[in-house]
């Protein structure tokens, strides 16, 4: 029987040091090497691991993005996904997280029509360029499915339910959730494998459908820049952090004393 998992990915600049254009307030993308958003790599790997655990499972990958984002879909196939779908149209450009999650869930509905009912949507916890973490839960809201974010372990899964460990600041929640649902994962969940040779060959040959707003029957008022309610009033690069003070000392006691002196000198204690 098996599951149908859809992994949502994004092609982003291949760096964690994103620069913002001070004039337009948007992300600088020119001349940046692109790759799969690192957090999405963990989502792909987890989907492939579930496929290895639950016989008959199939993994679809979807992205919304410009033509060159197809590379990232092929990379996902090389890493073990079975098929990929590309939501691409000029009308999608400039989407905020509201419009992006709307568009992706319309894509997921279309994938379900083509490939069979979807049991689970997997996302990375956030992207390394936008950093919001909105899109995964946003997709769940649009689909009216339950969701859990910050998942660091999938304990068990079958066609009906999933048991996951959610990373919290004060510990770990173990949660059971009915499927279909959406799960956003953190990097602690696994260590992504290197793309296999057979995967690379499959990726080269794969046919990746390109779908526009018409194909996914999207409401034109909900997509792209026009469909995005978010207004960026100002954005800036945070100033680089100055180096800290290193507390030196030959022994732990000497270091503790040096720290104490420093704190007293600063009148903090």
């Amino acid at each position: 029987m098996g599951l149908h998992i859809v992994v949502c990915i994004k092609q982003t600049p291949a760096t964690s040091n994103i620069q913002i254009d001070p004039v337009t307030g948007t992300l600088k993308r020119e001349g940046m090497a692109a790759a799969i958003n690192p957090f999405d790599e963990y989502a792909i790997e987890e989907a492939v691991r579930i496929k290895e655990r639950v016989p008959g499972t199939t993994v679809s990958v979807v992205t919304m993005g410009p033509p060159q984002a197809e590379e990232s879909l092929r990379e996902a196939i090389a890493r073990g996904a079975d098929q990929a779908y590309h939501l691409t149209s000029r009308a999608f450009a400039g989407a905020d997280t509201w419009a992006t999650s709307y568009t992706l869930q319309m894509g997921i509905r279309k994938i379900a029509k083509e490939k069979g009912p979807v049991h689970l949507v997997l996302c990375g916890k956030q992207t390394n360029d936008g950093d919001t973490g909105h899109v995964g839960p946003g997709i769940a809201a649009w689909l009216d499915w339950p969701n859990i974010a910050y998942v660091k372990k999938v304990e068990s899964i079958d066609e009906k339910k999933i048991v996951v460990h959610r990373m919290m600041e004060d510990g770990v929640d173990v949660l059971e959730m009915d499927l279909p649902s959406v799960v956003a994962v953190v990097k602690e969940i696994n260590e992504p494998r290197v793309a296999s040779l057979k995967g690379k060959m499959a990726a080269k040959k794969a046919v990746v459908p390109k779908w526009t707003e018409v194909d996914i029957e999207a409401d034109k008022k909900c997509i792209g820049l026009g469909g995005s309610p978010t207004v960026v009033s100002k954005s800036f690069n945070p100033p680089a952090r100055k180096g800290g003070v290193k507390i030196d000392g030959a022994t732990a006691e000497a270091k503790a004393k040096a720290l104490l002196d420093k704190l007293q000198e600063m009148k903090l204690i």
Binding site: R193, V194, A195, S196, L197, K198, G199, K204
Partner: protein, 409 residues
């Protein structure tokens, strides 16, 4: 340097390189220090399909041959020649089955070796029989549909970790070289156990064991070739396996040069980068030139061999005859001379290149917590195993003499 690789060969290199960088480099020091087997890397190699590059697609392989194996071993060895041996020693244990296996034998063992589900190993050396394989004492006595093995093999790479062993034993000690027979012995066969685990200078991430046979009953169906044919099995195997050792050596040498360059560039003495001294530049020039010459020789020999090997493998899949029989149809000569040359040249190069890498780094190069000295320790074995370099010279010399004789000179 453009070696005109196919897209598939390029993908093999990229995959192996990514595993070397991401999965091997972070653990090589640990496995070297505690002499533990790198199972977590083996798992990555399995998942990436790298075990299967030199197998026919009928067994789940990618349809390559010796050259594809060489590309993988070279890339992995740039990070760690010891860890690379998990795959390379499996190839050495597998080649006898590829060359001499019947359709049933190939179907039985090759799929698991191609997927990396089970590792292979090759056991020919004995306490009294090293370069002189005719002194083999481990015996195999026919008993109905079985052979009963008694004796020990030593220095078996992948020992204990591997599950499929090609073992050489004498079925007729009076016949010497013509009394040796090759068997496939599976781990878990009653009477087959592991003796001493060796502690080694280098390739410490590879397990090296003594194999002990005590009334071990091996099915007669596990004989490779036929009784008394063992030395042919070994020699034909070495002809195509030695480029694998050469690739390991080339990878080790290249890895050593890369580490030394990275350090010499940033190391400053007398107000300038150590790499900028002319003596350093000459050293680096010699190292790089010899490595590139090694690579050019290795690649051209392996590719030429593969033309015959691939034709024979394809023919064997059609005819049901062994690859060895088909090989004799497609080519008259043996590859001994050239496979000996690549093994000899690449391993001697690797050793002095690794030595020079340490010298280039100075004191830090000698330290265990810096990754250069390990390359020298790992390089040394490539001058010794699969035939010492003295044996390689013997064989090359013998072939040249024979060629002269054939010309009537």
């Amino acid at each position: 340097m453009n070696y005109f690789l196919t897209e598939e060969q390029q993908a093999i290199i990229e995959t192996a390189r990514e595993i070397a960088e991401k999965k091997i480099k972070p653990v090589r020091e640990k496995h070297d220090a505690d002499e533990s087997f790198p199972w977590e890397v083996v798992e990555e190699l399995r998942k990436a399909d790298l075990f299967g590059v030199y197998f026919h697609p009928n067994y789940g392989g990618l349809g390559g041959a010796g050259f594809e194996l060489v590309l993988v071993v070279e890339e992995l060895s740039k990070a760690c020649g010891g860890i690379a041996l998990a795959l390379a020693a499996t190839a050495l244990g597998t080649f006898p089955i590829i060359l001499f296996g019947t359709p049933a034998q190939k179907k039985k063992w090759l799929p698991d070796l191609a997927s990396g589900k089970r590792l292979g190993a090759f056991a020919i050396t004995e306490p009294e029989a090293g370069s002189d394989a005719t002194a083999t004492r481990c015996s195999a006595k026919k008993d109905g549909d079985f052979y009963v093995l008694n004796g020990v093999k030593n220095f078996c790479s992948n020992g204990e970790s591997a599950e499929i062993y090609t073992v050489f034993a004498t079925t007729d000690i009076k016949r010497g070289a013509r009394g040796i027979t090759a068997f496939v012995v599976e781990k878990g066969t009653p009477g087959f156990t592991f003796g001493k685990k060796e502690t080694k200078m280098g390739i410490r991430a590879s397990t090296t064991y003594e194999l002990v046979f005590d009334n071990c009953r091996v099915p007669a169906a596990n004989v490779l070739g036929k009784e008394g044919f063992g030395l042919f099995v070994a020699q034909a195997t070495f002809d195509i396996s030695r480029p694998g050792v050469a690739a390991q050596a080339l990878g080790i040498g290249t890895g050593a040069l890369n580490e030394a360059l990275a350090y010499a560039k940033v190391r400053r003495q007398f107000g300038q980068s150590v790499l900028s001294f002319q003596s350093s530049q000459h050293t680096v020039a010699n190292m790089a030139t010899s490595l590139e010459a090694s690579r050019a020789l290795l690649y051209s020999v392996t590719r030429a061999m593969d033309v015959d090997l691939k034709a024979a493998v394809d023919a064997s899949e059609q005819s049901g005859k062994t690859v060895y029989e088909e090989m004799k149809k497609v080519s008259t000569g043996r590859w001994t001379k050239y496979s000996g040359m690549v093994k000899l040249f690449c391993s001697d190069t690797a050793f002095w290149v690794a030595d020079s890498a340490i010298q280039l780094c100075g004191g830090i190069g000698y330290m265990r917590d810096f990754p250069v000295e390990k390359f020298l320790r790992d390089a040394k074995i490539t001058q010794i195993y699969e035939g010492t370099n003295q044996i390689q010279r013997n064989e090359i010399g013998m072939m040249i003499t024979k060629e002269l004789a054939a010309k009537g000179e």
